[in-house]
Symmetry: C2
Subunit: 240 residues, 2 copies
DNA sequence: TGTCAACGATCTGTATACTAGTTACGAAAA
DNA sequence: TTTTCGTAACTAGTATACAGATCGTTGACA
């Protein structure tokens, strides 16, 4: 349909999600235009969309920054998951059609090699597809939109290289349990397994964060905050 | 900050929510520009935002239509409420500060006169404020955004003149029970009362829809659908 | 009279010129 | 040497010109 904005938006989103564009890095519209061979209008439109989705921050009359990652945001996203994923799984168990059920089994059983980076990246994608497929199976478009957005934001943390991949086998096992419950159209079981999955994921990330803090690593972006304050790291655009 | 887009967006959103702009009505960017004294660029930007929020539909190379209302959308929105609002109330019971608690009590006890149209409109606003205040008290920005968007979409149905107002006293009583539970920081009670509130609201709207159908009224927009199909009512913009 | 193709009106999509806000930097003054 | 203030350089915000898509209309032809 739209021949410039749509592909540009997708490419930008992909680059942000995969952390090709470093969180916190600043840009101008012209710079994006040069990088992605587009004029300001489509760049602007794509950026507005990304801002709405929480991947970019706009600083009026100054420029843009790739939204920094923060522990607070990660926590909020997990909290959101805990609210809707069990319900989504329950609704999916009622409403998914047979193709969707098959596809879920497929996605859930993706074999993945611990320590293999490209395999991990593949797994992140499959994970996104599985969770959004469940959301899609609820037949509730609004719910799908929310689930998709939350997962897109979460994926940035995974791509950042947090060593979630070491939990691979556990994740796969949990996914299979959810998919099986939905396949069996067992509403209550689906809800429970999904809740369990998110709870486990929260435990795992808490463990990782704790050990990171213990070893004094800077976890994500320390200057980021929820109140809209702009970190005062100097703009790269200006430094050039 | 932005001196044209922001006010324009707010005004447009208000006019759509209050059904000043009839659902299903079509417009061009130029037409909006004339109506709201703005050039195409800000109009375009505001419309893109509204499209993202589900209040406007964009027909590529053709124009815009005010998103039609449908029973399906109403159902989806209520389902979303049932998922998010009980958890929001529970979290608010844990995290709200004292000003927020006071404000909730205030909003919940708004006295409202059945049959009085302007009082009903006032009530719709208070209802929105109460529900978003609860969401805000969770300290989870994503949750707030979702709840706010759901309610903005729902308000269009209320403003459309659906006779929800006859249920006023029941609504107020339910609101007070939720606010009381949160005030008492009773997490489980808050969750239950909120869930009860949404369930009751769903029952009430189902009753209203049933009687509307019984009497052969066209309920909302019969041609609207979820699959992105554009209703083929002729464009008003073109007819002029 | 019915059908189909070409044209034109009207719209959005995109590029760009212009306006105005922000801030870094340097010169002048204390 | 330090501070302050003006200016220039850079930014996004806005208006508009132009290109390209869509679809209704109309006229020619079967």
């Amino acid at each position: 349909m739209e021949s410039i904005v749509e592909p540009l938006y997708r490419k930008l989103r992909q680059d942000i999600v995969e952390c090709e564009l470093t969180p916190g890095r600043s840009f101008s519209e012209a710079e994006f235009g040069r990088l992605y061979s587009a004029s300001r209008t489509p760049v602007r439109e794509a950026c507005r969309r990304l801002e709405h989705e929480g991947l970019i921050r706009i600083i009026p009359f100054r420029g843009y920054i790739i939204a920094p990652l923060s522990v607070a945001e990660f926590h909020d996203l997990e909290e959101m998951q805990l609210i809707f994923e069990p319900e989504a799984a329950a609704l999916a168990a009622e409403r998914a059609n047979s193709e969707e059920l098959e596809e879920m089994k497929n996605l859930a059983t993706y074999e993945y090699r611990v320590g293999d980076r490209s395999s991990y990246r593949e797994f992140i994608q499959k994970n996104y597809q599985l969770h959004t497929l469940i959301a899609q199976s609820t037949r509730n478009k609004r719910l799908y939109d929310v689930v998709s957005n939350i997962h897109i934001r979460l994926m940035r943390f995974f791509y950042l290289g947090l060593p979630f991949d070491s939990y691979g086998p556990a994740l796969v096992a949990e996914h299979i349990r959810i998919a099986d419950a939905i396949y069996a159209r067992d509403v209550e079981e689906a809800r429970c397994r999904a809740r369990e999955h998110i709870r486990m994921a929260m435990d795992r990330s808490a463990t990782l964060l704790m050990s990171a803090i213990r070893f004094g690593e800077a976890v994500f972006d320390s200057s980021s905050s929820l109140d809209g304050t702009i970190p005062n790291t100097r703009s790269r655009a200006r430094r050039i």
